[in-house]
Amino acid sequence: MKQMVELTVNGEKKRIYVRPAATLLNTLREELGLTGAKPGCENGDCGACTINFDGRPMKSCLTLSIEAVDHQVTTIEGLIDTPIQQAFVKQFAFQCGYCTSGFIMNCHALAELYPNANEYQIKDWLQSNICRCTGYEEIEAAITEVLKNKAIEDTPS
């Protein structure tokens, strides 16, 4: 029942055999060894499995692997020293760390797509992810810092 598909993950093309019923979360973790996207509720509620799909945040548990053919998938492994990662460290925006990759992927997409996001939009996006350690204030501080820095960089001198 498996079929060959070509997925583009973190800029690399990967040819793998998958069941059409396999979720992207399962395929990333079990076929590609990319364990940054975490299984939480596997029901679209917790956001721990968030990846970027053509640059937009998406829950990989609510996406079939085969849907990703002809699209660009980015996981936490594809981000290297981005401003949001630096801000999470600086603001201590994690405790146990299980939700962190999902939050970072969501925040990264927000900063890339909406560098002028307002407070309402930040809260609206962050409500897609759950942190059982309740580190929300620090996470909000991290994304706010990234957006502020972007605004400063974009201001003509």
Partner: protein, 279 residues
């Protein structure tokens, strides 16, 4: 993990999708059309729904399903447009506001308008603005591609013949920028199923109202609207009469008891009427 196995098909035209459905159905594969897929994935995973399906037909690659724009005097919205995109669409603010409260943002990146109104979930809040604006739905099926008024194909849920699917939503321009309210009340947090959602649109001196979460299905009711628009009564009398005209008993469930829903509904209607009066 979804334990069921199924085939995945990706048609590139409406005719190809219909043909695929016919062929797969003839082979006994119980095909289903797949849009955002969030409900199909979650329900299949827990073996609750769609368990007979052995083939899914993803309609997101059909150009008509991903189109948005104006054609003549109508706004065309493809059924594969995600709610997150509609939330940002300035052309139809009532739809944007209503969609902005369905699920959470990341889920709205995947949930489509077609999927929301055709799914089995009882809330289907995206249908409220469509009922208020008397939109037409473009439906593809055995009888070809037809434009059908939503009132003819939506009664508590979508009445689609097997093998047919919603291609587009067509909304007349005249309704797009009318004064509106859209209020979703939840039990605790901002994200959640509705205790109730009220969407309303002011058309001249009259207001139209549509509801989700009140009863077991979303609805717009002429008798409820007649009561709410009766200028011979006080606002409280109008609301009391409207509640007596509801098409089914108020829900009492984990989101709230029937009595609490009625209490909240009275307040939300009072606010809505006041806001529309000023609008």
């Amino acid at each position: 993990m979804i334990s069921i196995n199924f085939e995945y098909h990706r048609p590139h035209s409406i005719s190809e999708a219909l043909e695929m459905f016919g062929e797969l159905h003839a082979k006994g594969k119980e095909p289903i059309f797949y849009n955002g897929g969030t409900e199909i994935i979650t329900m299949m995973r827990i073996h609750s729904l769609y368990t007979e399906a052995r083939a899914v037909i993803d309609i997101k690659t059909i150009p008509e399903c991903t189109y948005t724009g104006f054609q003549g005097d109508r706004l065309v919205i493809g059924s594969s447009i995600p709610l997150a995109q509609l939330q940002e669409m300035p052309e139809f603010p009532l739809l944007g506001k209503t969609c902005s409260r369905i699920a959470d943002h990341t889920s709205r990146e995947k949930i489509t308008i077609g999927g929301n109104i055709c799914g089995t979930i009882k809330y289907k809040e995206a249908v409220l603005p469509l009922l208020l604006t008397d939109c037409d739905l473009v439906i593809a099926g055995d009888n070809g591609i037809n434009e059908i008024p939503i009132q003819q194909v939506f009664d508590k849920h979508m009445l689609l013949a097997p093998g047919s699917f919603v291609v587009q939503v067509l909304v007349k321009k005249q309704f797009l920028d009318l004064p509106y309210v859209s209020k979703k009340m939840t039990r605790i947090d901002r994200i959640g199923y509705p205790l109730l959602t009220v969407s309303a649109l002011k058309t001249g001196e009259q207001a139209r109202f549509a509801f989700s979460g009140l009863c077991d299905f979303p609805f717009r009711s002429n008798s409820v609207e007649d009561a709410l628009n009766n200028q011979d009564w006080s606002v409280q009398e109008r609301i009391t009469n409207a509640i007596s005209q509801l098409p089914a008993p108020l829900l009492g469930d984990a989101e709230g008891s029937a009595a609490y829903r009625e209490f909240v509904l009275r307040n939300v209607l009072e606010e809505s009427i006041a806001e529309l009066k000023g609008g």
